[in-house]
């Protein structure tokens, strides 16, 4: 199982725990597909509805690496695939 940590706003929206587990192939796309299938309220909040692209202020981190610019189909780190480390979904620091 892959562990995913969500921002507080999205936990409130999806009414889920901050850390959830999903059964998915270890890629960003597969994990996000599984997340959205389980929590439909998240559709459009992580990826743009029209383009399917990561929303500009959403970032993906794992194992102290910024994975935001990786291909959505690139394999996630082994530690994430094995469940040892979580995939962190972060709302970017942005503003003033």
């Amino acid at each position: 199982m892959i562990r995913v940590v969500l921002p507080a706003h999205l936990c409130a929206l999806a009414r889920c725990e901050k850390q959830i587990e999903v059964d998915a192939e270890p890629t960003q796309r597969a994990v996000l597909d599984a997340l959205e299938a389980r929590y439909p309220a998240l559709c459009g909040t992580l990826r743009d509805r029209a383009s399917g692209q990561r929303r500009a202020f959403i970032r993906f981190f794992a194992c102290e690496e910024d994975l935001s610019h990786e291909s959505p189909d690139a394999p996630l780190p082994d530690e994430v695939a094995s469940g040892k480390e979580p995939l962190l979904v972060i709302g970017a620091m942005a503003g003033g």
Binding site: A41, C43, G44, T45, R49, F57
Partner: protein, 371 residues
């Protein structure tokens, strides 16, 4: 006993202010959806417990919320606002063309007879409709197929469709306003549309001959007189008496005719309210005095309403969707400010009092009169 529920959208959540018909003691609930921008909250005329809220965020995009119990509980519904067909292009600030791109829902207009049917005005400007309570949204595509889209351009707040007037006597007629494109009308239920901006003059842009390009800020209509429509334009307060076909200026003796919201008294179709703002570069009231202006003659002759409103050092703004009226026997008037105050008058504007003073900046105010 009747009651009033004021639905307030703010930069950091939604609030609901409720009172009995005396409108003296107000209960505040919220923030609902704390931390999110709530551009608009609207209740269904057909079922006052059915509410819709447009929830959005620069991080997480658009979410649509629905309540079936008057706002006690909410559920996220559909947020897929996909433009029909090829999105097309509109004008950008520099005159170049840019593809239509959905950003947010500015305004929700529930149908008068069906709680599951709602129109949504969005940025980039388009009109959407749901007939299943918000689960799915479909673009009313005829509006953007009018053909003038490449000449539409964003106002400072974005290219938004912010006003939707549903004719209570004719379900086929809808009037919408877009900043900065102007007013459009359909008479066939949305299949075809045409711009209705004759008589609007905007300094410098566009030329009087142009059919689009006007920065309309808000429209208001009394339900018993749907052919009479009042407009707060970027500059100028206007009226039409032929369903938006032709417009005449009614700014009259206003201290400034720049502003955002406009509202009509619930029982007096010729009584109109505006909040004059100094200018488009000074988004605060003239002289630091927050004054609602009321005309009881359909425009031109305006009187300042100041009793209970701050008359010194007040530098807030009142945004386009942030004024509304109730339908009690003595009409109540309500507006919210960018300073987080919500003011109410229970006597048609003669006297005012704050019913909330320290909310986040107010984006929208709607009022439900509950029996």
């Amino acid at each position: 006993m009747a009651a009033v529920r004021v639905l307030v959208g703010t930069r950091k959540g939604a609030f609901m202010l409720t009172s009995d018909e005396r409108r003296t003691d107000w209960q505040v609930s919220g923030p609902h959806f704390p931390g999110w921008e709530i551009y608009h909250v609207a209740g269904s005329p057909a079922d006052p417990d059915r509410l819709y809220a447009s929830q959005c965020s620069g991080w997480f995009g658009q979410v649509m919320q629905r309540s079936n119990d008057g706002g006690q509980t909410w559920d996220a519904v559909g947020n897929d606002f996909a433009y029909a067909g090829v999105p097309g292009e509109h004008q950008w600030y520099d005159g170049s063309l840019r593809p239509w791109e959905f950003t947010r829902v500015w305004h929700l207009e529930p149908a008068p007879d069906d709680p599951d049917t709602v129109f949504a005005g969005v940025q980039d400007a388009a009109l959407f409709k749901t007939t299943d309570g918000g689960k799915s949204w479909e673009e009313v595509r005829g509006l953007r197929e009018h053909g003038s889209g490449p000449k539409w351009q964003p106002g400072a707040g974005g290219m938004c469709l912010h006003t939707i007037l549903l004719d209570p006597n004719n379900a086929k007629r809808i009037v919408v306003a877009i900043s900065a494109a102007g007013v459009f009308r359909t008479d066939d239920g949305g299949e075809t549309w045409r711009p209705v901006n004759k008589g609007l003059l905007s300094q410098g842009i566009p030329s009087p001959a142009d059919e689009v390009g006007h920065c309309v800020h808000n429209l208001a209509m009394h339900p018993t007189r749907p052919d009479t429509i009042f407009m707060q334009k970027h500059w100028d307060v206007m009226r039409s008496d032929d369903g938006a076909e032709n417009w005449t200026e009614i700014s009259g003796n206003l201290p400034t005719d720049f502003g955002f919201p406009i509202a009509v008294h619930s029982h007096e179709p010729e009584t109109v309210y505006v909040v004059p703002i100094t200018s488009d570069s000074h988004h605060f009231p003239p002289e630091g005095k927050l004054r609602v202006y009321r005309s009881r003659s359909g425009g031109n002759d305006w009187e300042p309403l100041t009793d209970g409103l701050p008359q010194q050092n007040c530098y807030v703004d009142v945004l386009r969707d942030a004024m509304a009226v109730d339908t009690l026997a003595e009409c109540g008037v309500y507006f919210g400010t960018t300073g987080g105050q919500v003011y109410a008058s229970k006597d048609s504007g003669d006297h005012w009092a704050p019913i909330a003073e320290t909310l986040p900046p107010v984006l929208s105010v709607e009022v439900q009169t509950l029996s």
